[in-house]
Symmetry: D2
Subunit: 377 residues, 4 copies
Amino acid sequence: MDKLGVWLIGARGSVATTAIVGAAAIRAGAASPQGCVSESPGFPGHLVPLTDLFFGGHDITETSLRKRAEQLGRAGVIPPDLPALLASDLDAADAEIRPGYVPGDGGRAAARLIDDIAGFRARHGPARVVVVNVSSTEPPVDSRPEFERLADLEERLAAGDDVLPPSSLYAYAAFHAGCGYVEFTPSTGPTLPALTELAAQQGVPYAGRDGKTGETLVKSALAPMFADRALRVRSWSGLNLLGGGDGATLADPAARSSKQLSKDQVVAKVLGGPVDGQTHIDYVPDLGEWKTAWDHVTFEGFLGVRMAMQFTWQGCDSALAAPLVLDLARLVARAHEKGRRGVLPELGYFFKSPLGTDEHALAAQYARLRAFAEELS
Amino acid sequence: MDKLGVWLIGARGSVATTAIVGAAAIRAGAASPQGCVSESPGFPGHLVPLTDLFFGGHDITETSLRKRAEQLGRAGVIPPDLPALLASDLDAADAEIRPGYVPGDGGRAAARLIDDIAGFRARHGPARVVVVNVSSTEPPVDSRPEFERLADLEERLAAGDDVLPPSSLYAYAAFHAGCGYVEFTPSTGPTLPALTELAAQQGVPYAGRDGKTGETLVKSALAPMFADRALRVRSWSGLNLLGGGDGATLADPAARSSKQLSKDQVVAKVLGGPVDGQTHIDYVPDLGEWKTAWDHVTFEGFLGVRMAMQFTWQGCDSALAAPLVLDLARLVARAHEKGRRGVLPELGYFFKSPLGTDEHALAAQYARLRAFAEELS
Amino acid sequence: MDKLGVWLIGARGSVATTAIVGAAAIRAGAASPQGCVSESPGFPGHLVPLTDLFFGGHDITETSLRKRAEQLGRAGVIPPDLPALLASDLDAADAEIRPGYVPGDGGRAAARLIDDIAGFRARHGPARVVVVNVSSTEPPVDSRPEFERLADLEERLAAGDDVLPPSSLYAYAAFHAGCGYVEFTPSTGPTLPALTELAAQQGVPYAGRDGKTGETLVKSALAPMFADRALRVRSWSGLNLLGGGDGATLADPAARSSKQLSKDQVVAKVLGGPVDGQTHIDYVPDLGEWKTAWDHVTFEGFLGVRMAMQFTWQGCDSALAAPLVLDLARLVARAHEKGRRGVLPELGYFFKSPLGTDEHALAAQYARLRAFAEELS
Amino acid sequence: MDKLGVWLIGARGSVATTAIVGAAAIRAGAASPQGCVSESPGFPGHLVPLTDLFFGGHDITETSLRKRAEQLGRAGVIPPDLPALLASDLDAADAEIRPGYVPGDGGRAAARLIDDIAGFRARHGPARVVVVNVSSTEPPVDSRPEFERLADLEERLAAGDDVLPPSSLYAYAAFHAGCGYVEFTPSTGPTLPALTELAAQQGVPYAGRDGKTGETLVKSALAPMFADRALRVRSWSGLNLLGGGDGATLADPAARSSKQLSKDQVVAKVLGGPVDGQTHIDYVPDLGEWKTAWDHVTFEGFLGVRMAMQFTWQGCDSALAAPLVLDLARLVARAHEKGRRGVLPELGYFFKSPLGTDEHALAAQYARLRAFAEELS
């Protein structure tokens, strides 16, 4: 089997750095693949071994991966001795990071982004490459006429117009470069009709969106419990306290609204209708790379009796997300190899807002993932 | 379809009274079947309608059902106006309650218990009757030679020996009376080899044990989430605070040990091995019919990062258990009608210690229940 | 000692109704004064006995007190049998409730409000009357020139101008009627310089504001613990889930901002500076008269080690507030009798935003209250 | 002012090591005295500066302090770079650690322990020395006749009898060596009448017992809140999850019972009587040096309304205890200097089971501590 290139949008961010460090550590025998769903004993799929991944990507910052890894070591996200141990792997990935897209020159940037990805593949070829967006969350985007048809979109881009949000421009570039794409953020990414058309035309698969790593993961495990037991959920409220880069981005109300929309739909979808309550997101710098979420649920049982449950989740988002990035890249690559094109609803297990499916119940999503992996092998 | 008789061991207890009140309220149009799994829209099974149930049972106390219902109304377990509204139904069930078995005369008691059940069925016939044990938790029982073979057990009973714990004597009586049996408590009940033999001989089905209504329900929803995500659970600790009759019974360390054994196995079974931590049970009279449980879980993700989650469950056990008693009675009756005999592993969804199966993951249990109900219809 | 009239603004609200029911129940021997600070064994003060209170007030709704009490009985705020038992007391108070002030005719309304209060006192005289605002929270008010001097304010009111927010108009009326005043809400009330001047001129005392009944009460008990132990609080975040009328009012962002300002200052004041984190307020209708708050605190100890604590408070605001209303009315009346005029900083123990003092540490506030009560006796 | 020697029983344990590292870090300017109560701005007392402390002690293990410090660095209790930075200070303290007392030769051991302490003081003299017990918790001790009178005790010791538990033998040695003593564990220590007699005879002060660092600290802040507000606490239950050495010791039911007795009394003492509920302690090795405690409180307010609160405390015991050890050593030394002998009830603020006082309310304890420190200066 060929090697697999993972091209990360936001390649110097916490999630990307953790994924790169992790893959290197596993290859070096310094860590187990704990947290990788597809590495569980007996998980099917005939996927590229974790030891055969190589990394590159785009980013708008210039801090070296080694420095970022050291920061994550101090923050307790990765063992502090790994950055030194894996320095050559980190430097190799660093050498494959290109300047990210800065809004303003979208028309011209597209060609450059495509070249960056294609060059990466060529240098390491023969290889398949999957592009994964793990950059900052963008605000929701207003619909525009040229989003509807690929021809119109191409025309605007050719005219040098800056019409696409960054995540969608990256998806556009990925598809044009013949790569599968994973939208790991709540941003628009590949969800525009014009891009769906492009994916079909190019014969590439994609999956998304918004990695399900913490509070929403728990919600999707618990909501079916209430539904199947015929317990009527009356309210579901939550507060997410986030530090780190993600929190800072989400301190912007516009970006936060993308995330909240994504978080709020799970419960309503599983329960078959809306319930009272909201999900709040707060930026608390002191939490660093850690996140604490509290959820409070009121529900009604037999003869109308009112009951309640609450949970607190204390997780490290980068450590939860990074192994899923490795899972997704390998699964999308394998699907690509097997001829799948367009959206992959079977990967809904990994996402808060699964594309191509309305299934949000965690166990049902996992069963579908297993069946899909079975097919792929 | 015939009517269905539900014979409750512990017929004046909180769970039984709530179940009897609830069925009467549903028949009277005063309540919805919320909390009944088998009444969810689209649930298959071709079961006896909830309006065609009638009740009787054994109990060692003499407080009338109406009085018990009034107590539960004051405690907030049932709407306080129901006992008066449903007085005639409660009185009808009351008239079918017979003195429970008091250890000491097991040999002779068996015949009387069988007669009680058979008489109930005869008075309401033609009807099927299912016996459900919702009485107090018994301590674990030491194994005895006569538990192994039915012939030996019958011999001891014929000699007037008091060899069986009450729950097992009730199961013995149920089977002899040709009735299906549900062990809703963690007590020994039908699990002795001699009784398994009897069930097979009599062609009757049974299910158990220990209704999964609160903390353990949540555990069985969450543990698979960790397992499937390849997150290694390092410890799982819990404290259950119980008021009411159940709490008072469990203040006895011997009875408590039955319950704890039952509670502790779920996580280990789902995760494939034991984890640190214990489940504590405490009697806090002030909580009345309510129960509060706190669980604390530590787990390890990618590259060994340590994370934690905790949940608090505030439930009313009787209100959670009662609709399941109605579900189980109808499902066991239907299985009996369709010719099933012996243990029904397909009903594991309802139990902390499911008999006949090692599956503890909630969604998998629910899928099996649905498939079973499909078969029954 | 004379009887004491308690004139409640929002006299048909949950807090007022609970206070009136409670005082009547205590007089009838049907309840203990549990929750009344001033009724603790040994509490000094020489206060009017709880059995010598009588009630009246303003409200803009017309639901009878008896009906409101029945609603509270169903909601579990008061024992459901009390409304019938205390019907004549409730009707007597009902007969003393006058139409509340509806913004629009502030100039003319003042005179009418004063007459209402004075008439109440006259009908029951000789008696002292204390006015307590327990109506809905108002939005913060922009400063206006006529708020600064009483003469200017009187001139505007005489001209029929509607310049004061309702809470301040009530305080104005109370002072003019020669009554002490308690601002139990976060509204502006007596805090305008012109009203301070009026209180001094009329020789009446007042206290406020925003009754400290739940989450903030706990904060003011815990924040000094961190401060005295030299543990550096790094963040303090909270989510308040409120049902009932209070929640509905606070669903309005303007009103909510009054409350949040009031809640957020406690921690900063006790710790000597601001900390990260916010207090969120959410309206969850399903919670009814109940409130659930979750607070999350991160702090730093020796050598910079990071630690965390969280608490969940599940309270019934009306039941927590009502006895404090009785405490405050009696304490203010006694202070009035002893010649105190103007703000009473000694009552800061009862408030989220204590007027006349910067002390927010709960135990220090309690010590000051005890000393004050000692003086009064 | 002279320097101050701190002689630690359990000198290689987590608390002692953290205290020694911390004092060295403060002296080196590498850390602030955060967490030291007596270093708060404005705290009186005229105490020995933290930079003038030196350390020695007894321990039964031989792992070097440097190694222990490195372990604590990896466990996140202290910054990982400190052990190397402060190596010479750690080695200096290490050179002053003598073999601890191993039960079996109590009679002869006493003289040796006294010599160890006296030698330490002599080598560093002129200096005052305070002995602080931070070793493992002992089981409760049955009373013996010779505990009652010093003469009887001395006689038994002279006969070579091993009658005292280790903590008491250390207190005996400390007093004989003319040193003040702090019992920071729940062990028996100086509480025997014979030792009280000895302290008086030698003119030395002592304080104890069982450092109040986490869950109980919070309890003593919250219980007065309920009491002063006339809210009747109905139950108070808790579960403590402990890793590390402390947890392992407390896995032994006998040792655990000392701790539980100590923890359970706070609430009852503050509230004026026992309440339902227990405090459980569980050893969860995975928690390492960290501790998580959950407390659940039910209480009753006005008209009998039931409410609840719960809190979760996630702390690092060694980091919470170490600065208090420094506080206590300095306060006891200063009291000794000012001529105090016998028990120091004014230091109750620091302890779960304060000796010489029944005051458990945290703010009251702090006020008394401040007044005491004022007197000392």
